[in-house]
């Protein structure tokens, strides 16, 4: 029974997508993912564990395993995917390629669920690459537009480079012991630990790989919600969660540091963006930084909790942004993603506004919203961890607290600039939020309230914690930290209200604001760095190719030419040095012969004279020798 459920929840999204594309009917896709979600719910209710494997290579059995963590996350992925499918029905209704789009979404859901179920690092890598592929295909979905193909390629390449490290790490572990996840025991060495962590940084857009996620925002917005906010980018965190007990202690410290710096970096960059999707992208980078930090400090279950809450409110925010963009496309010719063209939209889009507000406050981490509980859990874990390590280690919880402040600031800015005040551009036509848009938003907003996770709004754990409980440092702890972070969030929100309130100087002149703080606007030139590396690589390739043509092929040509020259020389030698004497001998004998023949041809007297000469010569020979 469970086997049937697992097989169906894994393959139904894919089959639905394929059939949907073949028969040009989106209901197959919706049905596939809907059934898959139902199957995952049934598995949760059954609460059973499951493990199976097939022999893939002669000595390698690749298996899938369903434990409670995988089950709850599969359920999450299926739910978000279902909501995104429903949302896309409206969002992509007029697109010619929508059947292709739903097929790719199906392939993605299949791969993502497979990734969660994989019980072997190699199988995990297989699905890891497949989600990377679907991400590439969906970012490049509108491939005819300028800039999109190169963004898709860059996103894939950055991931691929991190994947090289991941694969190398996995293979190194493979030669040292088992890489079946459920059977791993020993602590790994430093090098493979850090290589696997780099792989996770790539997928989860941590520094220095973060740039691909902002590039990925050119894809359709529901895709950003599903892949580049809620699920795929969290795969890195999931991988770290799975391997955290075995990572080398030094690697964990590096992970915590990278996470903290990335969280801060994302917060700063988000504050200066004008493109609403870029704000959300940098916010995702920042929140993923929290999760990675949490893994590094041993707050493993806090990280997964944050992954869970983040999936809801960030998917809600992206879908809300999708609704905004959809609206802007319909009613205006201006750039639909630029916040400078928005403003006052709470009247036009009441439901979008309400849900967006709930999700935003969850992101900001205000009490009574889900984000508060999970973020607090991470900060507390970091605090307790630093407590044990020493004073220097407080830098990590400090970064986390500062980021909490920054988050409140940019969330306030975004909500105020988009929904409050007056509309900054002229609206051409009216717009009604359809049910397909509203329903997913409402579900996700409800999921962002505290009540979805725990009756106690100040708790740091949820009803689901038993699903993923492994902990090194407890997140119980000092009230001071909780107080401090609530204070920082409150100050951040108030400050943002002060700065960006509807009649403030900034908000009134926002239409014409251009890039000050250019480096933060451009994400501190991470993407520029990728471009330079790409250009450098292609230059190196050109140089190497001319080396190949000139030196290696040149040497071959030189060999060929010198062989020909040598042969010609030999031919000359043959003609003059070898054949020459032979011909010379012939000429000489002919010459001599002719001379002697000349003797015969003359008259008798001459012959007698020569005879006399001969006789004299012979006589003189005899006489004198």
């Amino acid at each position: 029974m469970n086997k049937v459920l697992i097989i169906s929840l894994l393959f139904l999204p894919l089959l639905g997508g394929v059939f949907g594309m073949l028969f040009k009917n989106t209901s197959y896709s919706i049905g596939g993912i809907g059934l898959s979600f139902a199957a995952s719910m049934l598995l949760i209710i059954n609460g059973s564990e499951f493990n199976t494997a097939i022999q893939w290579l002669p000595d390698y059995s690749l298996g899938i395993q369903l434990d409670s963590t995988a089950a709850i996350l599969v359920c999450l992925v299926a739910l978000i995917s279902l909501l995104v499918h429903v949302f896309s029905l409206e969002y992509m209704r007029e697109d010619n390629g929508k059947h292709r789009y739903f097929a790719k979404l199906g392939l993605f859901t299949f791969s993502m669920i497979g990734l969660l179920l994989a019980n072997h690092l190699i199988l995990l890598f297989v699905f890891w690459e497949l989600v990377g592929l679907t991400s590439y295909l969906l970012i490049g979905f509108w491939y005819k537009k300028d800039g999109i193909p190169s963004s898709a390629r860059q996103a894939f390449m950055v991931n691929r480079i991190a994947d090289v490290a991941l694969l190398a790490g996995i293979l190194m572990l493979n030669s040292q012991g088992t890489i079946q996840i459920s059977e791993m025991t020993a602590t790994w060495l430093f090098v493979p630990s850090i290589l696997v962590a780099i792989g996770a940084f790539g997928k989860s857009a941590q520094l220095p790989f973060s740039g691909w996620l902002t590039k990925a925002m050119v894809g359709p917005t529901p895709v950003s919600a599903l892949i580049h906010a809620a699920t795929m980018v969290a795969a890195g965190v999931y991988l770290l969660f799975r391997v955290a007990p075995f990572l080398h202690p030094d690697a964990l410290i590096i992970i915590a540091l990278i996470g903290a710096v990335t969280a801060f970096y994302g917060g700063i960059c988000a504050l200066f963006q004008h493109d609403i999707k870029k704000v959300l992208a940098y916010s995702t980078i920042s929140q993923l930084g929290y999760m990675v930090l949490g893994i590094g400090v041993g707050g493993v279950s806090a990280s997964i909790f944050h992954l869970f809450t983040h999936a809801f409110f960030k998917a809600g925010l992206f879908l809300g942004a999708g609704a905004l963009i959809h609206f802007m496309h319909k009613v205006s010719f201006e750039d639909a993603q630029d916040m400078r063209n928005m403003g006052g939209l709470r009247k036009q889009l009441p439901w979008t506004f309400r849900t967006f507000l709930v999700c935003s406050l969850a992101l900001a981490g205000l009490p009574f919203f889900s984000g508060f509980m999970s973020k607090e859990a991470i900060i507390l874990s970091a605090w307790n961890w630093a407590d044990q390590l020493g004073t220097w280690a407080y830098i990590i919880p400090d970064f986390a607290l500062i980021t909490a402040f920054l988050t409140a600031l940019y969330v306030g800015r975004m909500v105020l600039l988009v929904f409050y005040g007056t509309t900054r551009v002229e609206l051409k036509s009216s717009f009604v939020e359809s049910n397909a848009l509203k329903l997913p938003l409402i579900v996700l907003a409800v999921g962002s309230l505290w009540i979805a996770f725990n009756w106690n709004p100040l708790a740091h754990a949820s009803w689901f914690n038993s699903f993923w409980m492994i902990e090194r440092y407890s997140s119980d702890g000092s009230l001071i930290v909780t107080f401090l972070s609530i204070l920082l969030v409150g100050v951040g929100l108030l400050l943002s209200y002060g700065l960006f309130k509807p009649d403030s100087a900034y908000a009134t002149s926002y239409r014409d604001v251009t890039g000050r703080f250019a480096s933060a606007l451009n994400g501190f030139y991470v993407v520029w760095l990728y471009d330079r590396i790409g250009v450098g690589l292609s230059y190196a390739a050109k140089q190497l190719h001319s080396f190949d043509q000139k030196v290696i092929d040149g040497a071959i040509h030189l060999l060929g030419v010198s062989t020909v020259v040598f042969s010609k020389t030999i031919a000359l030698v043959d003609r003059f040095a070898v054949d020459g004497p032979v011909n010379g001998a012939a000429h000489l004998s002919g010459f001599i012969g002719k001379r002697f023949a000349a003797i015969n041809s003359k008259d008798t007297q001459t012959q007698l004279a020569w005879l006399l000469v001969g006789v004299i010569l012979i006589l003189s020979w005899i006489l004198f020798f």
């Binding site: 022999q55 893939w56 290579l57 002669p58 000595d59 190699i122 890598f125 297989v126 699905f127 690459e129 497949l130 592929l133 590439y136 490049g140 491939y143 005819k144 300028d146 999109i148 193909p149 190169s150 898709a152 390629r153 894939f156 390449m157 691929r160 480079i161 994947d163 090289v164 694969l167 190398a168 293979l171 190194m172 493979n174 030669s175 690589l537 292609s538 190196a540 390739a541 050109k542 190497l544 190719h545 190949d548 290696i552 092929d553 071959i556 060929g560």
Partner: protein, 527 residues
């Protein structure tokens, strides 16, 4: 089933002889006959595969081969010098079986791809069938002389097929190809003679590869492992191994003796590129595996690091060169160089997973690279041009073509679920698990998967994404999607690439026992 290998080997040759008597005006007959001949060859090899005993295990190499046919062929008595005894000796084991299947399959794809050749069709198809016989012969010959004969005989039809039916610089390319590989053959010839003089069957010298692998050396002969003789300070066995690496390395091709390949590929007609990339390169790799590693395992252990470095160099150097190409076919050609580097790394690892990986990668590349050349051929057939900058946005104009392109490009860059990944993964597993060389080899080889992604994705971006555009307006009416014949070639390749990628044991079960035995043989020589 008696003498089935002979049928598989010589049937195309027989049909070629029949063709000689058919008047050349009836050009359609030739392609039909060729199709029939290769189809029968394929059917026979499938039958062979079904009756092949995958579990066979034996004490020595002589017992590992199945369907053996062995008769005395040439017997020359040279008086006091000795005698030359050459056998007609065929057989297959787990290494040659998958390659035999691959050959018949790719050769059939090649015939379908040649369907529209009208110009001098008689000569073309006769040469093609001769080529078919000699390629298959290489994989099943167990007598070194017979192997060498087939190995050399591939050059002749190849030379004419490129030189007559090729592109603009065809004569340059064909001569370069011919001389390059002929040079390689000379190295192999030297080793062959040395081995003949050293290996005995009973008390007469023999060319039998089986005896050579089983190490039946005459004591005190030049290549006897216990012989103390040195040539220029090296033992003769070391020199022989190096000679074989050079000889087969040219065919493979390994950097730095690879420059014949891009020229030959670019100038060859599409079907010949298909065969060249799909099979001829595999003959080089097979020769390395069977002869260099099979007969000189002791030296292979000492020189594992050297072979691995050449492999890594090929992977990275070939990949970087592919990145610099603007001609689609040239890009694919350099990607072959890069991929064959993985075969070398797998061999050098001297582990069973590495060896299996090399063999799997040979088969997988034997499916992917023909498809890539077919894809390059599609655009060339329509426009007579392959320069990447002349095309853009083909995805919107030719969606089916783009679909197949995507499958094989991603197979080429090693996407899991397609066969290219499995081969690379196994080779890398071998490289990381090997005790023969340092970790850096593995890490550098792994970086090859990022380079291959770079050139394939860049090509997709330049040619298939973006707004639709072709350079010349005269090409416009020709820019139609795939024809039925093109789909007929690409669909079976796609199916096989996916099936092998999802369930690699389909092939590995054939080779597993043989590879295990091979590694066991090598392990006897560890100090």
């Amino acid at each position: 089933m008696q003498n089935i290998l002979t049928y598989i080997f010589l049937f195309p040759l027989l049909i070629a002889m029949v063709m000689l008597f058919i008047p050349s005006e009836r050009w359609r007959v030739f392609r039909r006959l060729s199709f029939a001949a290769i189809s029968i060859q394929l059917i026979l090899s499938v039958l062979l595969a079904f009756s092949f005993d995958k579990e066979l295990n034996a004490e020595n190499w002589a017992g590992m081969f199945q369907f053996v046919e062995q008769v005395n062929w040439i017997n020359l008595d040279l008086g006091s010098v000795g005698s030359i005894q050459i056998q007609y000796f065929l057989g297959v084991d787990g290494i040659s079986m998958p390659l035999l299947m691959l050959s018949s399959f790719v050769l059939l794809i090649g015939v379908i791809s040649s369907w529209n050749i009208q110009e001098k069709a008689k000569g073309y198809f006769i040469l093609y069938l001769i080529l078919s016989s000699s390629i298959v012969g290489c994989f099943i010959a167990l007598d070194f002389f017979l192997f060498y004969l087939c190995f050399e005989f591939m050059l002749l039809p190849m030379f004419f097929l490129i030189g007559i039916w090729g592109g603009a610089r065809r004569s340059y390319a064909s001569i370069k190809f011919f001389l390059y590989t002929l040079l390689g053959s000379l190295f192999i010839l030297v080793v062959m003679i040395g081995l003949y003089l050293s290996v005995v069957d009973g008390d007469v010298n023999t060319f039998s590869l089986v005896k050579m692998m089983d190490g039946a050396y005459e004591s005190g002969s030049i290549l006897d492992p216990s012989s103390p003789e040195l040539i220029f300070g090296y033992s003769a066995r070391v020199l022989a191994f190096i000679f074989l690496i050079i000889g087969f390395g040219i065919k493979l091709p390994a950097v730095p003796v690879h420059t014949w390949l891009p020229d030959a590929h670019v100038e060859a007609p599409t079907p010949i590129s298909v065969v060249l990339a799909g099979l001829l390169l595999k003959v080089g790799a097979y020769g390395l595996l069977r002869i260099a590693y099979g007969i000189f395992p002791d030296i292979a252990i000492d020189y594992a690091g050297f072979v691995a470095v050449v492999g890594v160099l090929s992977i990275i150097y070939g990949g970087m060169n592919a990145l610099a190409q603007r001609d689609l076919k040239r890009m694919v050609a350099y990607s072959s160089v890069s991929h064959m580097g993985f075969v070398l790394v797998g061999l050098a690892s001297l582990t069973s997973i590495g060896f299996s990986g090399s063999l799997f990668h040979m088969v997988s590349h034997g499916l992917i690279s023909p498809a890539l050349f077919l894809i390059a051929g599609v655009i060339y057939d329509r426009t007579g041009n392959r320069q990447m900058e002349n095309f853009s946005g083909l995805a919107s104009k030719m969606p089916v073509y783009t679909f197949f392109m995507a499958i094989f490009f991603f197979a080429g860059l090693g996407l899991p679920g397609l066969s290219g990944f499995v081969g690379e993964l196994m080779v890398l597993m071998g490289a990381f698990g090997s005790s023969q060389f340092s970790l850096w080899i593995g890490i550098l080889a792994t970086s090859g998967i990022a380079i291959s992604a770079a050139y394939f994705l860049w090509t997709i971006q330049r040619m298939f994404y973006g707004k639709y555009f072709v350079r010349e307006s005269t090409w416009e009416p020709n820019m139609l999607d795939l024809t039925a014949r093109e789909k007929l070639m690409l669909i079976p390749l796609t199916v096989l690439v996916i099936v092998l990628g999802v369930y690699p044991r389909l092939m590995l079960d054939y080779s597993n026992e043989t590879i295990e035995f091979f590694i066991q043989q090598i392990s006897r020589f560890y100090p």
